[in-house]
């Protein structure tokens, strides 16, 4: 029996250090860890982050998504993890691991204006569905720009 595909969206505050270099390092580490998990248990997803917040979408078999999230919950470095949504999904929105930076520069502002306008970069004011949609759109943009 194959487990049904599930999607989970959460955000977390203050888990990343403010200094840009340190933040790059930490995000790189999170992404690397995430990719290892991907190989092992079939969980993919996307990261979105800025200075104060961090949002993640996890997609995969139900049990694997649950185990991955539980590992995150047990990690003392994650403060105030808020689970925004969790449930079955039709298909993966992110078949490979992806990430997006939602910074404060003018270029970013123009580009991710919809988030800035709606939330002032405060992920807590976005629904799980909205974070998923925004991330999805951003990742598609990146792919087109690279092509």
């Amino acid at each position: 029996m194959t487990e049904t595909l599930h999607r989970l969206v959460y955000y977390s505050r203050n888990c990343l250090t403010a200094a840009p270099e340190a933040m790059d390092r930490e995000v790189a580490q999170i992404l690397a860890t995430s990719q290892v998990n991907n190989d092992r248990v079939g969980v993919t997803g996307a990261l979105m982050f800025n200075k104060g917040c961090f949002a993640q979408v996890l997609e995969g078999p139900q049990g694997a998504v649950e185990t991955t999230f539980e590992r995150i919950q047990q990690d003392a470095r994650h403060g105030e993890v808020t689970l925004l949504s969790f449930g079955p999904a039709e298909a993966r929105g992110f078949p490979v691991w992806s990430m997006a930076y939602v910074g404060g520069s003018d270029a970013d502002e123009a580009r991710y204006g919809s988030i800035a306008g709606e939330s002032g970069f405060d992920f807590s004011r976005l629904s799980g569905e909205r974070i998923f949609e925004v991330l999805h759109a951003m990742v598609l943009d990146e792919e087109q720009a690279a092509a």
Binding site: Q62, V81, P88
Partner: protein, 552 residues
């Protein structure tokens, strides 16, 4: 008997070393300097690949730790074995799970004989009891044993520790709504989180149900326990996802410290439990350290409980009746029945002191039935125009017997249903809308009246006013008392009375004590009043006299 056998066949052994070789335990012989001068084959096999020859126990332990076979605690236990001077074997567990029982016996020449006995199988046989089947944590029995062993060591050598007891808030709701498989999965995850929060050497146990305990050994107390408790409240309170569900629970934590809060396992468990009780009473999702006054308060509560359990049988309860009047025309329309407990030694006990306790221990149901029957019987003696209001506890409201009890109280007294008015607090309405509405409608079908008590004090029950046609809204006395000084209170009273009149409900103000207050509530549109201005609560006889004087 083995001793006889050895004596009967001594010639089979060419030297004592050969005899030692044949023993089913590992043997190390230490010289006067504490170094290993002899190891039998079994000892060498147990310690391989380490060659024990020439090593002290200290050095041997360090080697075993270095190669990852033993924990530092096990090595320390090995070092202590010659110091302990006890015949009782000390059991150490290797990192791979093998258990070794160690003994040491002093020799005449100042050296030692140390035995190493593999007791893994023996321990495995006991394992079933030592481990909690669901979570794999230590069982209550195992915690008890470890605690006793630790306390014995503390009494010899001193030391600090904390016993941390916790249980889960809202776990029952998860179990009830999503079923035991989800509840069990959640308990396993909680167990994992507890393990992740403690240090090596601490004991994590499941005491049963959703109760857990941690023996935190070492660390600077109380700081270490404080840090652990904070971490537990945060960690256990984080959202879980299990079997497709998002689950939210919390935890309350109570802490007793060794040695100041007790040196016996029973005392420590009891004191940690008292602290846990306090944490729950203080709103859950928090932790409390044990304090001696918690014990005193608990003893007082226990005394009250014992007396309360007897009060009904000893007929120590009585009802008094406070008149309610219609403001226009100043006519008596009814009485509210109020419960009093007159104890021979305690005197008059305030309902605020015993009702919450009665609710907690389930006594409120029989007490509530007594109140209902007694009040109905008394009211049946009054003129037909006068109603009787009886308070219902949220606990009674949740129970399945309420409709039967009301039916039988009416039948037993011969009181017309329309003359009985049941007062329900906002709190009772919070729980489960559909079930609550079913009970309310059931009462309505019996023909009794239903009023909402203490309106405005708790949570907004406005939605209920729409869903269920209450006959009356009772405005809490706190608003009446403060309306002269607080404009908000006056505004609330005005809002409630206009709400009442638009829904076709009567509004009654409680706690009316002065003519000014009466004038004000009348001006705000309130239809009925109750309070000292009209009359104090009256004994049954006085109530009958009051009626005779006013309703003639």
């Amino acid at each position: 008997m083995p001793a006889q056998i050895v004596r009967a066949h001594p010639v089979g052994y060419s030297d004592p070393g050969s005899l030692i070789e044949d023993l089913a335990v590992g043997v190390l012989v230490l010289g006067r300097l504490g170094d290993v001068v002899f190891a039998n084959t079994l000892a060498s096999a147990i310690l391989a690949p380490i060659d024990a020859a020439g090593l002290t126990l200290d050095a041997l332990g360090k080697e075993l730790v270095r190669i990852g076979r033993w924990s530092t605690e096990a090595a320390a236990a090995l070092c202590r074995i010659t110091a302990a001077g006890s015949d009782r074997p000390c059991v150490v567990e290797e990192n791979e799970g093998r258990a070794l029982a160690l003994t040491a016996r002093a020799r005449n020449d100042g050296g030692w004989v140390v035995t190493l006995d593999d007791v893994t199988h023996h321990r495995a046989a006991n394992r079933i009891d030592q481990r909690d089947g669901l979570t794999g944590l230590a069982s209550r029995g195992e915690l008890d044993e470890r605690l006793k062993a630790f306390l014995a060591a503390v009494q010899r050598e001193g030391g600090q520790a904390a016993l941390v007891c916790l249980d889960l808030d809202r776990f029952k709701a998860v179990n009830d709504t999503l079923g035991h498989p989800v509840g069990d999965a959640l308990l396993k995850m909680v167990a994992q989180r507890l393990r992740s929060a403690v240090r090596e050497g601490d004991v994590v146990a499941r005491l049963g149900g959703d109760e857990f305990a941690i023996l935190q050994i070492g660390g600077e107390q109380p700081q270490a326990a404080d840090a652990l408790a904070r971490r537990l409240v945060d960690l256990i309170g984080r959202t879980y996802v299990a079997q497709g569900h998002m689950l939210n629970i919390g935890t309350s934590v109570g802490i007793a410290l060794v040695p100041e809060d007790g040196l016996s396992a029973d005392t420590l468990l009891r004191n940690a439990d008292l602290a846990l009780y306090r944490a729950k009473a203080d709103g859950r999702g928090t932790f409390r350290f044990f304090k001696p006054e918690m014990d005193e308060r608990m003893q007082a509560r226990r005394g009250l409980e014992i007396d309360l359990r007897k009060a009904l049988a000893l007929k120590e309860f009585e009802l008094v009746y406070q008149p309610q009047t219609r403001i226009e025309g100043d006519t008596v329309v009814g009485f509210e029945a109020l419960l009093r407990w007159r104890h021979p030694d305690r005197g008059l006990v305030s309902p605020a002191d015993f009702i919450p306790l009665a609710e907690e221990i389930g006594l409120i149901t029989p007490i509530g039935e007594w109140v209902l029957r007694t009040a109905c019987r008394e009211a049946a003696l009054w003129p037909d125009s006068i109603t009787i209001a009886v308070n219902l506890s949220a606990v009674q409201f949740r129970g399945s017997r309420l409709l039967d009890t009301v039916t039988s109280a009416l039948a037993g007294s011969g009181l017309a249903a329309a003359r009985l008015e049941l007062e329900i607090t906002e709190g009772a309405l919070l729980e489960d809308t559909d079930a609550v509405l079913a009970v309310l409608n059931g009462l309505r079908e019996l023909g009794v009246r239903v009023s909402m008590d203490d309106f405005g004090t708790g949570y907004s029950s406005l939605s209920y006013l729409q869903k269920f046609p209450f006959d009356k809204i009772k405005i809490d006395q706190s608003f009446v008392r403060s309306m002269a000084s607080d404009r908000d209170s006056a505004a609330i009273i005005r809002a409630v009375t206009s709400l009442g009149s638009s829904f076709g409900m009567t509004t009654i103000a409680e706690g009316v004590e002065t003519p000014e207050q009466l004038a004000r509530i009348r001006a705000e549109g309130c239809t009925e009043a109750q309070g000292y201005l009209i009359s104090r609560p009256l004994t049954p006889e006085a109530a009958r006299a009051f009626i005779a004087a006013r309703v003639a």
